[in-house]
Amino acid sequence: MFKLSKTLILLIVIALTLLALAGCGQPQSTGSSGSSSSSDSSNSSEQASSDDVIKIGTIGPLTGNTATYGISTKNGVEVAVDEINKAGGINGKQVKLFSEDTRGDQTEAANAATKLIEQDKVIAIVGGVLSSETMTAGPIANDAKVVMISSSSTASGIPDIGSYIFRNCLSDDVQATQLAEYAAKDLGLKKFAIIYTNNDYGLSLKNAFEAKAKEVAEVVDVETYNDGESDFRAQLTKIKGFGPDALYIAGYYTEAAKIAQQSQEQGLKVQILGADGFYSPKLVELGGKSVEGAIFTAGFFADDPSESVQNFVKAYKEKYNSEPDMFAAQAYDAAKILLAAIKNANGEGGEALQAEMAKTKDFPGITGNTSFAGNGDAVKDIIILKVENGKFTKLR
Amino acid sequence: MTLLEGKNLTMIFGGLAALDSVDITIEEGEILSLIGPNGAGKTTLFNLITGVYSPTRGSICFKQKEIINMKPYDITKMGIARTFQNIRLFGEMSVLDNVIIGQHCRTRTGVVGAILRTSAVKKEEKKVHDRAMEILNFVGLDNEAAEKAKNLPYGKQRRLELARALATEPDLMLLDEPAAGMNPQETNELIELIGKLNDMGKTVLLIEHDMKLVMGISQRIMVLDYGKKIADGPPEKIRNDEKVIKAYLGDRTRKEVQAC
């Protein structure tokens, strides 16, 4: 069999290299071949040397076009970690934070989570930021019994990944349902049109809003757009034909500002409604007068006079010289919840930490009081905000 | 016996007739040359016969079968092979592989066979390889079998194109200016080679400007001018055809032609 010798040799070399590299990796992992998947990383003997610190990680996009969300999330977690380290750490141990970039890519999110868990030996992760990241990183964390808490992945199904996966953000269903009810009952709006971004976030919001709005009022038209689009005039011209009183925009502030502006330009006079994707000073910057009067749901309100919120805003501004957004606030709260649970678990990870996390009840955070439902999803209050004179004010 | 018969062939490009009602017959076993000045429509005729273009009007029968609208690869399979005016070899492939590719339409291994490499496949491969070496030997390129085709000198590239055409096991070979760019010695070798091909029973249709070559080996010559056939007959007749000499050959060539 000399015919394909070159090929065969190359194939063998590749196979051997793969196995050799796999072998090299072996000592560093605790149970890579799956034979002892029950072993807990915090029990590993190698942990001994680094027992004086508690390691946690974050994953999220720090580069790329979704970097805004990832950087805010990382900053929020850093503020929480700084706070606890300044206060003497957890049981005398300092908390060390490892942040990994995912570029918003789910493959990289899985790699990043694997690195944090297997190389850096973190006991918990705050993240991912985008739902798709959490979808691939979550199962890895869950298998490794590492607690993971996402502060912004709103897609349905994330808490179902496993018992180690928690979520501290407003669920799309709750937000949309409550706003539909509020708009119909409290604002007296009757005819709704919906425009949603065709991704997991927009679709979840739209489904929930449409269901509730049909119950309490009327939905005259539903339109959609793709991520990154700029021209909504075609959809808006169509919507205008139906003469709605309100337009629910299930999407993010960049597009929402353009939609509001283009509807104003087309003479479409409607009450603009939205969800937490609206919450950014950029909404007003980009939308100008057209977003005046817009009403939306949110989980955080930076101008809330309460002391905890103002302390956070002050600390954040000092550290990063910018206003914290909702991502930062929710990440901060997620980190606080996590750190409290770590403290209760005496710095242990794994099962002990999972149990403590699940026990969290009415945790007083800056995004409201948080408890976890049985599946690890946060149950918390919803704030309704309105744009008035270019500023956000709290309606409820 | 008539091998190929084209009738009333007309090809119009953007309003201009590259060929205008041309009839052509090729008898089995003959060497027919196609001459005429540049732009007379010689290569266009080749392209019609080999299926590269479909004529605006007219018909072509090969072995009593209509081949208009047949694809080039099917025409090749029926037994027509060609070389190109501007050499078109598979430059990155070896000389041997070029000839092996020539036998494509005479072999049948598919993807599954290729992956499994059954004994039938190996047998076919061996056969193809041996035949390719035989053909290379025949054209005198066996020493260069492993070279990349693009690295061959010009004359040898022409011969390789011929070898590749021969590998398709054609009955009719269309050679488009095979001697272009060759030195006299190479041309002589080529004449010998075409003669040998003819001896093997191959019918040859030749486009050539080298009058020595044309007059030397053609059994019949057909002359095109501005897309029209102006003469058709044995070399001695063409040589003295006033119409050809006047309309096409010109003074300088007249001497050349008559000297042959």
């Binding site: 793969l18 | 598979f90 990155e92 291994t109 070496m133």
Partner: protein, 294 residues
Amino acid sequence: MRMNYYLQVLTVLGINIILAVSLNLISGYTGQLSLGHATFMGIGAYTATLLTLKLHVPFLLSLIFGAAVAALFGFIIGVPTLRLKGDYLAIATLGFGEIMKNILLNMKITGGPMGLRGIPKVTNIYIVAVAVVIVIFSLNRIMISRVGKSFIAIREDELAAEAMGINTTNYKILAFVIGAFYAGIAGGLYAFLFRYINPNNFGFMKSIEILCMVVLGGMGNTAGAILGAALLTVLPEFLRSVSPVISQYRMVFYGLLLVIMMIVRPQGLLSGTSFYPRYPRRLSVEKSAGKGGQ
């Protein structure tokens, strides 16, 4: 089911190798520029996933069936578009990719933008290594055969290939079908590794990433495609561990690398070296004893 970090990266690398060598078959060997290769990966991934999730088909069967469906799409896309040449083909494949992504985003069964989750984790380094070996091995067998030589002939000179009796349209479609089949396998492996897929994984940027692997290593060279895949998989991960500051700039470097690469060595890193023997050694060129002529 845990996998250490290096194994994880290696597994991803294996999948990328399959993608790169399969695109290399289409673009490198056959010379048909495709900007929609990730589409085939996506079709494989979705088919395999749906078969497993909805019909509980076993892994291996889903994987193969997914690849078969991808191949079918390669055929469906190939038949009308392969009449187009060069840049037009490229833009048509890009268009088909975007259309497929749009359809995946709007279909109920694919979960729309939510994607599909809860896929069992089956893919591991051993399965991927076996798949890589099988793919490369079979690809080489194809390339040394009459079929592979026809692919190269089409790349070298389509018209001459037709004159040699090669049905170029059929062979181009065949290249697409085989390439799509392999990409479908890669897609299935991907789905069963990450346990979650959504349409955005298989968009234009992924296609470009695969193309860059092929180009970086050297078009028309299997070893080059492997090297390209290795570089573009491992390099970003390497930069991740070197320094977060550099990591911030890595996409900028990535762009620069492509430009510099094209200027300094446009034929790719490994061009000129041949990975597969052109013909089996048993049949290698020897002075034929046969006499010329008949």
